[in-house]
């Protein structure tokens, strides 16, 4: 139920790496079954989301709306297969539900919605998640709860001016319970971020807005844990983790290839992907 802190960081990282492998398998299976979805950005966020859901966050799958829980907002909502995989594996709903992704009347919509158990809020129209996180962090403070609010942002998503309005507000209110994690995979839908809309040094930008920043390798489980623990202990103001990641991480033919942003693998590609992840 609560934050898991048993074992050394290295031991926890070992377990989480295995969990992340299972999450990646579920992501691919889900998207392949749906014949639709976004594998690239789901796989790049898989290690971060695994660390949050299976170690860092205080949650209770039998009480999805437990007020004292930590919140996570997948602002880059198109990567919802990673969220759904984590939620199913944590027991918010059955693993069999994953087969219904994007289907008529499924609880697993094409982008996350508030009605799905374990989803803290509707997200996926890019640029809004950090603002929603600001509201939730303000509310936690007003209500006297020590809940943390984690917001997972895409790097392409940072093109939205709305994100920077939220960054200003988080600084103004010194929201020490708000953590932004940028999945810096370097690719967006039409091409490399630096070609579509150069964001430059993202950590420097957040720092200029008054945030504390950390830069990590978003696939190194020990680094992820260390950064998230630092963030949890940091209460002086908002903190941003810029996680360097690889879009499509774990599937060689998807890695750093832009077209796998929103493409479904065919059966042969699917089998090959499973083999690679199982063997990795």
């Amino acid at each position: 139920m609560t934050r898991n802190t048993t074992g050394t960081r290295a031991e926890r990282a070992d377990m989480l790496r295995e969990t992340a492998r299972e999450i990646r398998l579920l992501i691919l299976d889900m998207i392949h079954t749906a014949n639709s979805g976004h594998p690239g950005g789901s796989l790049s966020a898989a290690d971060i989301m695994t660390a949050l859901h299976f170690d860092i966050m205080r949650t209770n799958p039998s009480r999805p709306r437990w007020p004292e829980r930590d919140r996570v907002l997948l602002s880059k909502g198109h990567a919802c297969p990673v969220l759904y995989a984590c939620l199913a594996k944590r027991g918010y709903f059955g693993l069999n539900e994953l087969k219904t992704l994007r289907r008529f009347e499924s609880i697993l919509q094409g982008h996350p919605i508030h009605k799905t158990p374990g989803v803290d809020m509707t997200t996926g129209s890019l640029g809004h998640g950090l603002s929603i996180g600001v509201g939730m962090a303000l509310e936690a403070r007003l209500a006297g709860r020590d809940s943390q609010v984690y917001v997972i942002l895409g790097d392409g998503e940072l093109n939205e001016g709305h994100v920077w309005e939220a960054a200003m507000a988080a600084n103004k209110f010194r929201l020490g319970n708000l953590v932004a994690i940028v999945d810096r995979n370097g690719l967006q839908m039409d091409g490399p971020c630096e070609t579509v809309m150069p964001m430059g040094d993202i950590a420097a930008k957040f720092a200029a807005f008054g945030w504390t920043t950390l830069k990590i390798d978003g696939h190194d489980m020990e680094e992820i844990l260390e950064a998230l623990e630092t963030a949890r202990d940091h209460t002086a103001g908002p903190l941003c983790i810029v996680a360097r990641t690889v879009k499509g991480k774990g599937v060689s033919y998807m890695e750093n290839v832009c077209e796998w942003h929103g493409k479904c693998p065919d059966s042969e590609q699917f089998c090959c992907a499973l083999d690679e992840i199982k063997g990795a």
């Binding site: 809020m121 809004h128 603002s131």
Partner: protein, 323 residues
């Protein structure tokens, strides 16, 4: 012209709403208020002074304000967000739609400077499409108080009604129509004048224009039934049914684009349920301009004079058809 005996209020509806908000905060100690650097203009700063811990100036960033309100409301706290109608309903419209109306969250919109009451500020500050945007959104309820008493009650109604509620308020003082004991409810309306010849439906500041027009019409022997449709969504279909059964003619006048306002809503309803000779007055597919409020109403076609003219034209059609 003021053919009625009504007196102009000393304060605008935006202020009446915010003053009631301060009082209501003693009854409901939960709700928070967010504003976008116009707390002095919307008078939400009165709440801020009384309850600084629940008052948030989110800066000149309406989109973030509304999405942040959704986050707070998603975790259980009602939030009043405040700004001018143009910004609240257009700059932030996606936040309103996807993050408040879709999850049906308890966020209330204090939307000032409705219609051409921001007269001197010009087009950039005149919310003349707000009703179209807000009534189109599922789960949204829309209230437009016609005077200070109605504005005070609108605050209570907004906070006591689950889900999103949009309240359109005015920059300048309106004429007092109601006394403090008048009751209002979501989906309700008030018949302010009885008549047999035509039903005139309006809301907000234009109710006064309709009342003036009815006086003029009465002097010519024409009985106009005047309805204040303060609950624009949902609207009071029962009242409309009863009134049209008697008058058989409908005129809608509003301080808004004629397209996609209450006029269009009621026209569609009539076509489906009870076709009658009909006309609607509002901005005729145009933007307005800076200037004196009364002159603008005259130039853009929804002052009392225009209502009189349109009413006679509709009645002519009705009688022509009856022959």
């Amino acid at each position: 012209m003021n053919e009625t005996n009504l007196k102009k209020a000393t304060i605008p509806t935006r202020r009446a709403f915010s003053e009631r908000m301060v009082e209501y905060a003693h009854v409901n100690t939960d709700f928070a208020v967010m504003e976008a650097d116009i707390g002095g203009s919307t008078y939400t700063n009165l709440f801020g002074r009384a309850h600084p811990e629940r008052y948030f100036n989110m800066g000149i960033a309406e989109g973030n304000m509304v999405s942040a309100a959704s986050g707070m409301a998603a975790d259980g706290r009602p939030v009043v967000v405040s700004s001018y109608g143009v910004f609240l309903t257009m700059r932030a419209v996606e936040s309103v739609r996807t993050f408040i109306c879709y999850p049906n969250l308890n966020v209330k919109f204090l939307s000032s400077h409705g219609g051409l009451t921001a007269a001197i500020d010009g087009v950039t500050h005149q919310a003349t499409e707000d009703i179209a945007f807000m009534t189109t959104l599922p789960n949204m309820k829309v209230l437009v108080p016609a005077d200070t008493a109605a504005a005070r009650q609108a605050l209570d109604l907004a906070l006591e009604t689950p889900g999103p509620v949009f309240v359109r308020l005015m920059r300048d003082p309106l004429f007092d129509i109601y006394d403090a004991s008048t009751q209002f409810h979501v989906g309700g309306s008030h018949q302010l004048r009885e008549g047999r010849d035509i039903t005139i439906v309006s809301y907000g500041d234009i109710v006064f224009q309709a009342l003036q027009a009815a006086e003029v019409l009465a002097a010519e022997g024409i009985g106009a039934e005047v309805i204040d449709m303060y609950s624009v969504k949902p609207f009071d279909a029962a009242r409309l049914t009863a009134s049209l059964a008697k008058t058989g003619a409908l005129l809608v006048a509003e301080n808004h684009q004629a397209r996609n306002g209450l006029g269009y809503e009621l026209a569609a309803w009539c076509l489906k349920n009870n076709p009658v000779p009909f006309a609607n007055l509002g901005l005729d597919d145009t933007f307005a301009e800076s200037g004196d409020y009364q002159k603008l109403l005259g130039k853009y076609g929804f002052s009392a004079d225009w209502i009189v003219r349109a009413a006679k034209e509709i009645i002519g059609r009705k009688e022509g058809r009856a022959c």
